[in-house]
Amino acid sequence: MSRKSVRFLIPIISILAAFAVSALIIFMAGRDPVMIFQKMFRGTFGSSYGAGQVVFRMTTLVLAALAVAIPFKVRLFNIGAEGQLQMGAFAAAITGAMLPACVPSSAAIPLCIISAMMAGACWALVAGVLKVRFGVNEVIATIMLNFIAQGITGYLLTYHFALPSTVHTAPITAAAVIPAFDTVTGWFANSPANLSTLLAVGVALFFQVILFQSRFGYEMRAAGLQPEAARYGGINAGMHTLTAMGIGGAAAGLGAANIVLGYKHYYEAGMTGGVGFAGIAVALLAGAHPLWILLSALFFGVLEYGGLTVNAYIPKDIFMIIEAITIILVITFSALGRRLQQQ
């Protein structure tokens, strides 16, 4: 088998195998797997509201996964998408709430998005600078930064920005709201799916071009594959570490904008709900490839929202098991595939 076809087959085989395993688990939990999967399908793609929920979740997942995937191309494991999302979400909400009502949408939306991206990028860059300047392992740094982000946003929310007797900030100005598909095109009835999805897809395509078509991507991938050779070739690997972390963090910030500007319209404690960590799984399943991330995020979106729809029959935790098994299988099968090719 050629290299290409193996790479293409592995995720599909893994997903099928994961479904087989989860069918077994559902069966052992005393439910009919076929019925559960049917209900899941009806709950997601069967209704336009369900599809909208999936699309909404997918959007944040795409951006969170890109936040992991881009640094991954320079061999950095960004565990900090969650913290970067939190910082981005908080920045978007505060900017949106502080803007005077007279600012038009054409300015308010970009301003809020930019502040979210800046916040995410800065937060990721802390880890980047620590890595380049002092050689601090980025895994440890980003994990710690997650805690710090949680602490900072928690503190600022409770003591400075929360509306009295609530756990959320003041709503953003109406002009900063990213419109839902429902209001613009009439798709996805009443669901939180909003125009951010277009941004997310655009960003994925943009990264695809930057990584694989541009000179910048050529240098960046070289720096990731063989840092020593990159140094010989006159490539500044440290600079690429910083930019990869920076644009990764910015992508996470944009993911937060989807939640804040497109759906909730304010910041509340715990609103990112671990989607930054799910992003790691999405990126791994896609092999950190921007276009595959779109599909991989769709798959995870279906599992997440589909899990909710059948919650009455089977605990949502089952779907966490499916997600995790898929990842483990992808990694195992990829290793197996490599070994088979070598032999």
């Binding site: 541009s214 594959l225 063989q226 050779a229 010989y232």
Partner: protein, 513 residues
């Protein structure tokens, strides 16, 4: 005498590639049997099969007359087979004795190690075979030659009767090589069977009893070493007659291109690696630096290409056409018209996962002629790739899709050479170990291209641990020892002494050890 190792119709397939096909071989007990062949001829695969690291796809193997089928090296070791790998399998933080008994401690898991008893046994073996080592010394503190002796003692400790040596002289100085050969002979005289893998034909003729030549996964000839000649072996290896010595027309040196004056290189831990090193290279000449690895060559190269690690103290000067190279970045140095081919090709000069075409661009991707928009000009790149592939006879199926890592060592090196020699306005080429891990067929092309570049007026600094190569190519030769040039041979001396290369190698050997 019986047959120690008998292989009958051994074949080994990796994917769709036959690494070994229908190999039949008999290694007589108590002989030194050399296995020669180019890189990729299947020598390593074959020995890995004997050592149990690979299982043959088909065929049979018999050790001392008994048919065996090893599933792991552990079983091979039990059957009395030992292997000295090219890269030693030693733990630097442990002592010589601890390394030798590792995996064969002969005591309970939670018992104290029988260090004293083992040391005595080791010393006895060491005495019998003339393998001087200090059993108490830390492996990290002893020389490469001594480490190799430790590996041999490890095999003796395990009572191995069949010993496989994989390119054992690659890391040794000429003196250490002579000493190793004496050891090999004494091992043979005491009845051990030795399988020696090498691609150096001089060594085969010097030490082996029998020679088998491998080409493209098959054995193409087996003969007694006394009746073999070097040209004949070389012809068998590559399948056609080749020049072992490159034609080196008289040079016509021009102005001074690179001038290094009292260069010093002090590591951050104040260890002095280069000391008072001075040399000049003119346009149109090759300055060969002969020396044992680790005498400051790597550090000299680091300085010249702007790769000295942070904290290094560099003194003296290195001027390229009157401009200092010290403190400049690789990209700036390249832009000035300097090319550098580093010694560790796979780690430093190429991106193995990038395609052949992308690698032809690597390091030169800043040149505007390759640019288009935010990316590269595909047309210009394709044209350039095609030209390089035909000019340098690079063997690859589809340069735009094939990862460089799938090419043979020789073809990889041709890619690097093509890229670096075609840098616009190149006037200095720094070459380190240009033919390491490169098969004989490719060496010819590479040497001719180097001479061609010299004739066209490029100044070349050649660093190589292969004295044969230094002698064949250089206009002048500097012998490096402990970070400075200890002796320099003038162009006249080199031309004269080149006629008797063996003697010349010995003479150089005196200056580099």
């Amino acid at each position: 005498m019986g047959v120690a190792v008998r292989l009958s119709d051994i074949s080994k397939k990796f994917g769709s590639f036959w690494a070994n096909s229908n190999i039949s071989l008999a290694v007589e007990e108590g002989t030194i049997h050399a296995l020669v062949g180019e890189n990729g001829a299947g020598k390593s695969t074959l020995t890995k099969i004997i050592y149990g690291m690979h299982q043959p796809t088909s065929g049979e193997m018999a050790i001392n007359g008994k048919t065996v089928r090893f599933t792991s090296p552990r079983e091979a070791i039990k059957a009395g087979i030992g292997m000295v790998h090219q890269h030693f399998m030693l733990v630097p933080e442990l002592s010589v004795t601890e390394n030798i008994i590792l995996g064969n401690e002969q005591c309970g898991l939670f018992w104290p190690l029988p260090i004293k008893k083992s040391s005595a046994l080791i010393l006895k073996d060491a005495y019998t075979y003339g393998l001087a080592v200090d059993p108490q010394a830390l492996v990290a503190s002893i020389s490469i030659g001594e480490q190799q002796r430790v590996e041999i003692l490890k095999l003796l400790f395990r009572h191995a009767s069949i010993m496989i040596f994989d390119e054992p002289t690659a890391v040794l100085t000429p003196a250490e090589t002579d000493r190793l050969f004496a050891t090999l002979r004494s091992l043979r005289d005491k009845g051990k069977t030795i399988i020696l893998i090498t691609h150096k034909l001089d060594e085969v003729l010097a030490v082996a009893d029998t020679v088998s030549v491998m080409r493209k996964g098959a054995i193409v000839g087996t003969m007694p070493a006394f009746s073999a000649t070097k040209p004949e072996l070389a012809r068998l290896m590559v399948g056609r007659s080749i020049l072992l010595r490159v034609t080196n027309p008289p040079p016509s040196p021009g102005e001074i291109i690179l001038s290094i004056n009292r260069l010093g290189f002090c590591r951050a831990n104040s260890e002095e690696r280069v000391h008072n090193l001075s040399l000049n290279i003119r346009a149109g000449e090759i300055y060969g630096i002969a020396g044992v690895e680790g005498n400051g060559q790597s550090e000299l190269l680091q300085v010249l290409w702007g790769l000295a690690p942070a904290g290094t103290v560099i003194s003296g000067e290195a001027m390229f056409k009157g401009r200092s190279l010290i403190g400049k970045k690789p990209a700036d140095i390249a832009f000035m018209g300097v090319s550098y081919i580093p010694e560790d090709r796979l780690h430093h000069a190429v991106i193995a996962d990038y395609t052949v075409s992308e690698n032809l661009l690597f390091g030169r991707h800043r040149e505007h002629s390759f640019h288009k928009g935010i990316g590269f000009n595909t047309h210009a790149l394709t044209r350039y790739t095609k030209a390089m592939i035909s000019d340098y006879a690079i063997k690859c199926s589809s340069p735009a899709h094939q990862p460089l890592g799938t090419l043979s060592g020789g073809n990889q090196q041709k890619v690097v050479l093509a890229r670096e020699l075609n840098r616009p306005a190149i006037s200095l080429l720094i070459l380190a170990q240009p033919t390491r891990g490169v098969d004989i067929g490719a060496i010819e092309t590479i040497h001719n291209k180097i001479i061609e570049a010299r004739t066209s007026g490029v100044a070349i600094l050649l660093v190589s641990s292969e004295l044969e190569e230094i002698i064949a190519l250089s206009t002048r030769i500097g012998c490096i020892y402990k970070g400075s040039i200890r002796h320099e041979f003038t162009p006249e001396e080199v031309v004269l002494k080149r006629e008797a290369p063996q003697e010349f190698q010995k003479e150089i050997g005196l200056y580099i050890t």
